[in-house]
Symmetry: C2
Subunit: 108 residues, 2 copies
């Protein structure tokens, strides 16, 4: 099969800048621990670092680094209450992506 030789006059193109931003968000998703965190936050709830740590057994410092990265990308948002910091999803599109992961059949 060949590439189309007759193509629409104006080919729709996402700007390289937008592709760059989207690529950055994908790099935010490109780590199993970060996907695990997102799976936990998928329900829309706010979880403190300590609560996340009970589900995901990694070094607290490393968890903070992962959370900070996703926060800077706009994937998560945090709020402080007493000595706890609560994180929650802040990018609704991510939920679709997570749903897609659950449904799609990638051979294991």
């Amino acid at each position: 099969m060949e590439a189309t030789t007759t193509m629409e006059a104006t080919r729709r193109r996402i700007s390289y800048d937008k592709l760059g931003m989207v690529a950055e968000i994908f790099s935010g998703l490109a780590h199993p621990t970060r996907l695990e965190i997102l799976e936990l936050l998928e329900d829309g709830g706010a979880y403190s670092v300590g609560q996340i740590l009970k589900q995901i057994h990694i070094d607290p410092t490393l968890l903070t680094h992962h959370l900070t990265k996703m926060k800077h990308l706009g994937i998560l948002r945090s709020s402080k209450q007493g000595r706890n910091v609560y994180y929650r999803l802040d990018m609704p599109e991510i939920r679709d992506v997570l749903e897609c992961i659950q449904n799609c059949k990638i051979k294991i």
Copy 2:
């Protein structure tokens, strides 16, 4: 808002292995040039390296490296015809992801 304290008896969990594979695929998408290539291949057509090069102005060696990476991840598949090598999408799920990029409003 607090995390749910009463939660379903059995929490659905994607295995860490599957999360690892999915994370690898996301890392395949985490580069603007690779997203540009995928946007071009999204129509299902097969494009030779030369044809891709006409749309995306990068060094041919670098293009091959990007294509090879996506091929190894199972995102693309290639076939040779004469001295041309044609690449095409080989992971239908990617089309949904690309559609999502086009629709979703990420502030630029």
